[in-house]
């Protein structure tokens, strides 16, 4: 056992070296940490239109690379976040945003969860109300015949 462990470790280290280098995401050198933070936040908010379920910060698609370089360019130019987001939505539409804006077209999207909770609450209230209501009283004659049947047992 004592011999196996170092051998296993050695093997692991060799495997790690042999693994192909992960695809590199280009790194932008921001002099200003605030700008860098804004770059991070922005690229995490923008959707890559090719992969669709990835933001442009995580995507290796060529389009995501182009969009990242555009965000970088606009940041250096001194655009504020709103201007950069507008630049993207002007060209790619609201779909490029992970968080869709609140407008008439997206009303149902935003209100559906609240609506579902309300509907569920209403259903719950109805069920509870029915449960609390006293059971219907049977006529005395029927009760008597039931008692008779039970007593016979």
């Amino acid at each position: 056992m004592k011999k196996i462990l170092p051998a296993a470790l050695w093997l692991c280290s060799q495997l790690a070296v042999a693994a192909p280098p992960a695809a590199q995401v280009e790194v932008y050198d921001f002099k200003d940490p605030v700008l860098e933070q804004r770059y991070q936040t922005l690229t995490e908010q923008l959707r890559c239109l090719v992969c669709q379920n990835q933001n442009i910060a995580d995507s290796h698609a060529e389009l995501a690379q182009d969009l990242r370089s555009k965000v970088h360019e606009l940041l250096i130019k001194g655009d504020n976040d709103e201007q950069i987001v507008k630049y993207m939505t002007d060209r790619y539409g609201d779909f490029v945003l992970y968080r869709p804006p609140f407008k008439i077209k997206t009303l149902l999207l935003w209100l559906a969860p609240a609506l579902a909770v309300l509907l569920g609450g209403f259903g719950f209230w109805r069920v509870m109300k029915n449960a609390r209501q006293p059971k219907e009283q049977l006529p005395e004659a029927e009760l008597k015949s039931i008692r008779n049947l039970l007593d016979k047992e």
């Binding site: 239109l49 060529e62 182009d66 555009k70 060209r91 539409g93 609201d94």
Partner: protein, 176 residues
């Protein structure tokens, strides 16, 4: 009342999911529709010394078709476009997206050239301005220079017959 309520909820769910089945998530609606075509000025593929800018085609209905020699589905589309160009209904302009000029010229030489001219967009800057995210894509621009339609993916016989040709005929009839 209480008995058919779950059924109703289920029915609504089925309707929404059913609609969802027939939507193509790859087709992102373009915000450029009914807006002026984004301006650019870029060298032509066959005459790099000459530049082309969209405003040169004011008063004409034209199609900007985004293509590249590396794009596989462009090949299938290309045959359709060659046939379509023969009809002379509309001016076709190619936007050669992120391509090498030599490759692009060779490609057109081999497969035929349906375009009146192609412009080079080597770094994809024009494509970005037009909201291009997948090649091929085609934009229909009217006489006033307004983008009226975007076709995502390869143009085929069906989309020509059903959408593009009727639209172009209407636009050709409009006043400049």
């Amino acid at each position: 009342m209480r008995n058919w309520l779950p059924l109703l909820v289920f029915a609504v769910l089925v309707i929404f999911l059913g609609i969802g089945l027939y939507l193509d998530p790859r087709e992102v609606p373009s915000p450029l529709i009914d807006k002026p075509a984004p301006a650019f000025s870029a060298p032509q593929l066959h005459h790099p010394e000459q530049a082309f800018a969209p405003e040169q085609f004011k008063g004409k209905v034209w199609i900007l078709n985004v293509w590249a020699s590396w794009c596989v589905s462009c090949r299938a589309e290309h045959a359709v476009l060659n046939e379509f160009a023969k009809k002379g209904l509309v001016t076709l302009v190619g936007l050669n997206y992120k391509d090498e000029a030599a490759d692009a010229r060779q490609w057109l030489g081999m497969l035929g050239n349906p375009y009146q001219l192609s412009v080079m967009d080597k770094d994809g800057k024009i494509g970005l301005d037009w909201g291009v995210y997948g090649v091929p894509e085609s934009f229909v621009i009217d006489k006033k220079g307004i983008v009226r339609h975007k076709h995502i993916g390869p143009v085929d016989e069906k989309s020509l017959e059903e959408v593009l040709i009727p639209l172009i005929q209407t636009l050709n009839g409009e006043a400049a």
